[in-house]
Symmetry: C2
C-alpha cells in the first residue's frame, strides 16, 4: 500500500523552498502521468550529465528505458540519479520584470537506478508501449528476444522528491497594481495534431481506434 | 566571430551515438532559441541534481537565472554543469514495439557555470525579459537595485555539446512493411492560447501589441 506522501530529506530541502514544495503523492503522480518525457541526471567520472528520455509509472515506481548498446547507461546501474519532469503551462507577465514568471508543473525525484533483469523485462516493455499509447501493443508484430535484449529498462522507487506547481496570474508588489501596465498570462499547452499515416502503410488501412482515441496527458 | 561547430569531446561522445549527433552551431542555436525552458544538472556533495529553469542565448553564450536566496545555486558557481533543452514533437508509431520512438529536437551542452557580477547583471536581466517576450521591458515599472540583487544570473559558453534531432515516419524492419499494421506519427506541438488579462488590471487597458504579436519558438 502506498504512502500518501514522499519523503522530505536534505536533498529535497536543498533544491526546493520547502514552503513551496508539495510532497503529496497524488500531485506527484499526476504530473508524472501527464507526459512521457523526463530528464534523468547522473554522474559519470565525477561529471554531471542530463539526458532526455521516456518514462512511465506503475504504482510507486518510475521506469525509463534506453539502448543496451549505450555506454553511458551501463555506468548508471545502481547509481544515484535525479529525475525531473516539467510541464511549461504559460508565461506570466507581471508589472515589473522581477515578478515575471512561468506557470508550470514539475516533479523532482531522487533515488538509485535499478536495472531490470531480463526475465521481468518483456512485461515492462509491453507496459511501456501501453503507457505511451494505450491499445497499441496487441496490434503490433510481436517483440523478439533480440529486441528485448537490445533495450535496457531502469526502475526507481518514487519515494524521495517533491512537486512544485505555479498557476494563475502574476503576483505583483502592492503599489504596482495602480500602474497602467497590462499584466496577465499567455497560456501554453501541448497540442496533439491529426495523425499522419506512414506513406508506406498498406493500401486501405484505416486509422485504428487506439490512434483516433489518443489524447495527451 | 563564432566557430561554426561545437567541440566533440569524450563527454559528447559518451552520451550521443556520434553518428547521430549534430555539432552544427546553427542547428544547436535554433533548438535553444525555440523555447525558454531548460534543465540544468549539477553535482552537490557528490550527488546529482537536475532543475528546470529559464534560459536565453546571446551569441555563443547561454544564460539562466535563479533566486540569489537559493542555497543550491550558490554551490554551483564555477562548477561543471550539463544543460539539456528538449522539444517533444510527436509520437512515432511503428509496426513493432521496438521501433516506436518520438520525434524530438534536443541539445546537450557542457561547461562551467559562471556567475555574472552585479555590474553586468542589469543589462542581462533586460535581455532576459526581452528574450522571454520581446517588446515588454520598456512597458514595465523599472527594476530596482534590490530586485537585481535578488536575482542570480549564470552564463556558460556554448562550446562543448551537440544536438540530436529525429523527424519523420517510423523506420521499421524491411519485412514488417508488408504487415497490415497502421503506422505513422502523432504530431505534437506547443500551442499558445489567447492572452488572459489579470483581473486586477486597471479598467480600459488594452492588450498591448507585444503581447498580441507574441509567438512561440
Amino acid at each position: 500500500m502506498s504512502k500518501e506522501h514522499l519523503k522530505k530529506t536534505d536533498r529535497t530541502n536543498l533544491v526546493r523552498n520547502p514552503s513551496r514544495a508539495d510532497y503529496d503523492r497524488d500531485v506527484v503522480n499526476g504530473i508524472i502521468d501527464a507526459t512521457s518525457l523526463c530528464h534523468v541526471s547522473y554522474i559519470i567520472d565525477g561529471r554531471p550529465y542530463v539526458t532526455p528520455t521516456l518514462q512511465w509509472r506503475e504504482g510507486d515506481t518510475i521506469y525509463w528505458h534506453g539502448s543496451s548498446a549505450s555506454r553511458f547507461l551501463r555506468q548508471i546501474v545502481n547509481k544515484e540519479v535525479c529525475i525531473s519532469i516539467t510541464h511549461f503551462d504559460g508565461i506570466v507577465l507581471a508589472r515589473s520584470a522581477f515578478h515575471h514568471s512561468i506557470n508550470y508543473r514539475s516533479v523532482m525525484l531522487f533515488g538509485d537506478a535499478h536495472k531490470i533483469e531480463d526475465g521481468d523485462k518483456n512485461q515492462l516493455l509491453e507496459d511501456f508501449v501501453e503507457a505511451l499509447i494505450p491499445g497499441r501493443w496487441e496490434t503490433l508484430r510481436p517483440m523478439t528476444d533480440q529486441e528485448a535484449k537490445a533495450t535496457t529498462v531502469f526502475s526507481m522507487p518514487i519515494d524521495e522528491g517533491s512537486a512544485k506547481v505555479r498557476t494563475g496570474y502574476p503576483v505583483d508588489d502592492d503599489e504596482d497594481y495602480s500602474l497602467p501596465i497590462w499584466a496577465g498570462v499567455l497560456p501554453i499547452s501541448q497540442t496533439l495534431h491529426a495523425p499522419k499515416a506512414d506513406p508506406k502503410n498498406l493500401a486501405g488501412l484505416e486509422v485504428p481506434k487506439h490512434v483516433r482515441d489518443y489524447s495527451l496527458g
